[in-house]
Symmetry: C4
Subunit: 282 residues, 4 copies
């Protein structure tokens, strides 16, 4: 299967960083005009009215600027095509220029309007005291001025286990205490109780440290600004689990003391658990 | 987390009022051209063919107009670049101009095509006599020429209650008598019966006046014009509840007397209930 | 509520016929340029280089063409602004022109890309013999080169009935024998059996003729070309029900005799039922 | 029903190959300008300033280039309209040019942004040993840099069977062992066990070869790049079923030996089953 077919340039253009994207457009713009300038130059400078004859480089730069004025359809007209060939090429260049900007328009709009879930996750997942036992917890919060509703979260745990002497990956779906929110506008702490039905039930701190784990999170929500479903993914690996800690509050009274504000910078803030994490298993 | 990253300028541009949005575009247009005019002016007016030499201000205004003619790609050509630097800058400006209008195109389309639920809610929620008891009622109606189908409504009540001497917020999901409509094109009265299963069961007029309440409404529907799911939110707080009133009809015969029309201005129209609101609790 | 707010011009533009839409754009184009021509004319023709002084009408037409050359950013330059005011107005006009075409681009795209279910319904709904009894049947088929999958249909019957001497409208949801199709690419005959659970059970031909009925159909499907959910609505009223008829086949062998083709023109084709419609009730 | 109405030109433009689409645009561009050149030529070359009078063909080509400079809004101005008719036509042409590029912009964007499921299917479906019996298996994998989640697959089998001496098509929904994936980023082998509940239960190799079968596959997933639901269809007919084979692995260690990579070219790779396919029926 040819690489070109396996590679969606549109997807790539959409995912590219803004600065890189703009630079790419500029490079294409200059390159295309260099090519056209070359063609006009080869046809002959004498077929362009308005160019003063001088040394080669100056003439080429004049031809280049004529090309850009054609490609962008500025067309000042100080320099203009007179011969048939030059006119024909500029006819094609103006057409190509407009199509290029049509494509650029589509790319810009595609980039802007691409629905994305702007959700930030805590850097760590904590094993915290919870009810009579313990729970795995992590936090997430939307961080842009968009509105998420009907959010739902799915947790999958990949664990490397020894089975008959062979290391194999096992996958488990982990239930969360609350896995659905009608409105997701503030922080949301996902809690997976480490009870009998959890594959992590009875894990000690050491087991959390040495077992190869990956907790994969899939969040789906309806973004009211885009009026579209958006999804986000995140994952925590073994080193990102922290035993015996509790998330600290993220809400603080504002300066006036009358309102409560969410401090996003505290998303990962936690402290050692005040009581030991009681292992559920005896 | 840097502010810029937390702030989606596209979301902002989409949510902005039309007049403000157009003004902003105009300001950007003038500013960018002032900057370019400054650059051309610094390079030297003598590199622009067609400008009559006169006093500074007049020259600058000529340069400014040359800049706008380049940015918009009008390019009359009365004034045109001759020197290398001036030509190079105008080459870049025309490119920037086209990209700017490409972005503007995307923004306009994004603003138009953003699916929105154009639903108007009654200003008040009424506590009306209903069956043998009472019910909380409010009305809503779509107010634009769009078609909503498969509408559903979700009610959440936030109530400030005293629990062991502490004021806490409690959230309840309130069922509605009809919470789903196949076709939502006229007014829809949402009815939450204040029966035994309601957290507001047995509330007196005083309790409705003094308890801190917020009834949050979430409506979701499929808009057939946008072919997209749209959502609307609304809420009623304590002062917006009205005890012992009934909504008045919104449908009236038209002038010919043969058709019935919905009068949207009557959405909130209500009168005192003819019979007292019977408190459900004894 | 002001009319303007109740009226979505974007929805209107999207729903408008193509010919009307293009005519409207042309009218706007001419009108705007007449206004700008008026402004330039009032400022003074002498501020436009290249206009030969002659009688008023000719001058005005020259100014008008200058305006269109500015609005469309053609800018030949034979006529070009010289004075400050004229230049400033043309600066604004070129800006406005580009924004207008940006908006037009959005409208065109909105019109094209608006997902629509191109489904044609039979003109009549038939009461046909079915199993041991009778059934209400109608047909529908997609008629454009699009692909519908996961189609579902919902039937609602509105019937005017006499209740305690008052004429009231009653609504019933009618089940269909098959109300869901994985792939809806050919014709689909919807069958509602007139059995005991149907509100139309035991209706005679006369009752079908004299009862005020409206069968409302709501079809929802996923269009694979638009990758979007599309909906279609249709309805049959009393006069459009036909007693004792059967739909004729819509599939015929093609000229080569080897393939079967769907003949859309036969969508409504039916013949008298070969056996009498047996009234289900005794 | 007129053909034009049955034919969605927008759908056609979206489905067309890129090369064909661009060629079509170019043909339209040249044709429209030939028509306008004809109109200007008939009005008279003398109404265009800047054209040197010469022989007919040269004059026509000059008029043609003036037309393209108007249509693309380049407007160098070396040639410019002077008479009323010529000016009026060019006013209309520039308008038409901009609208055409507005439409082209919409088409480009429609083509790019059209959500598509880029999924490749194995060329054959295998009848492989499975558990104690056999199973029908095929493989699929996404082949572009997009992310699919919440994938689900539906299998429908069409079989030509003899019923009372008549050949009829029967349709069956086949269950798959796993018909849903939270994340579909690598290959996915769909397994339909040929057990008692399968309509293919007890089929011998001969029956698989001679029965007219078509296995239709419908895949639906959420594409995270487009944030949209996408669908793919595929089907296997009798000749594409292969008895007694097993799919070979598609995952191989990379050069460094530390990572595992998916080799898409192996999607259809299979070998003869090591054990005979045990017919489930005795």
């Amino acid at each position: 299967m040819p690489l070109l077919q396996r590679y969606s340039w549109y997807h790539t253009m959409l995912g590219m960083k803004s600065s890189k994207f703009l630079l790419l457009l500029l490079i294409i713009y200059v390159s295309v005009n260099l090519v056209f300038a070359g063609i006009y130059y080869m046809i002959g400078v004498e077929h362009l009215a308005g160019i003063e004859r001088s040394h080669n480089l100056k003439e080429f730069s004049e031809v280049f600027f004529f090309s850009t004025q054609t490609f962008t359809t500025v067309g000042y007209g100080r320099i203009s095509p007179t011969g048939f060939m030059t006119s024909a090429v500029s006819t094609f260049e103006a057409f190509l220029g407009l199509l290029s900007f049509a494509i650029a328009t589509g790319l810009f709009y595609g980039r802007f309007s691409r629905p994305q879930a702007f959700i930030k996750f805590s850097e760590q997942a904590l094993v915290s005291p919870y009810k009579e036992g313990a729970a795995l917890m992590f936090r997430m919060a939307p961080y842009k001025n968009n509105l998420l509703s009907e959010a739902e979260v799915k947790l999958t745990l990949a664990m490397r286990v020894d089975e008959n002497g062979k290391q194999v990956n096992r996958f488990f779906t982990l239930p969360a205490e609350i896995d659905r929110l009608n409105s997701f506008s503030l922080s949301w702490t996902i809690v997976h109780a480490l009870n009998e039905s959890s594959p992590l039930y009875g894990f000690s701190e050491e087991e959390f440290t040495y077992t190869e784990l990956e907790l994969m999170i899939f969040v789906k929500a309806f973004d009211e600004v885009f009026s579209n479903t958006v999804v986000a993914r995140w994952s925590y690996v073994t080193q990102e689990f922290k035993w015996g800690a509790r998330f600290s509050p993220m809400f603080f009274p504002d300066e006036s003391g009358r309102h409560t504000v969410l401090d996003l910078s505290q998303l990962n803030s936690h402290s050692a658990a005040d009581i030991p994490v009681q292992r559920n298993a005896g």
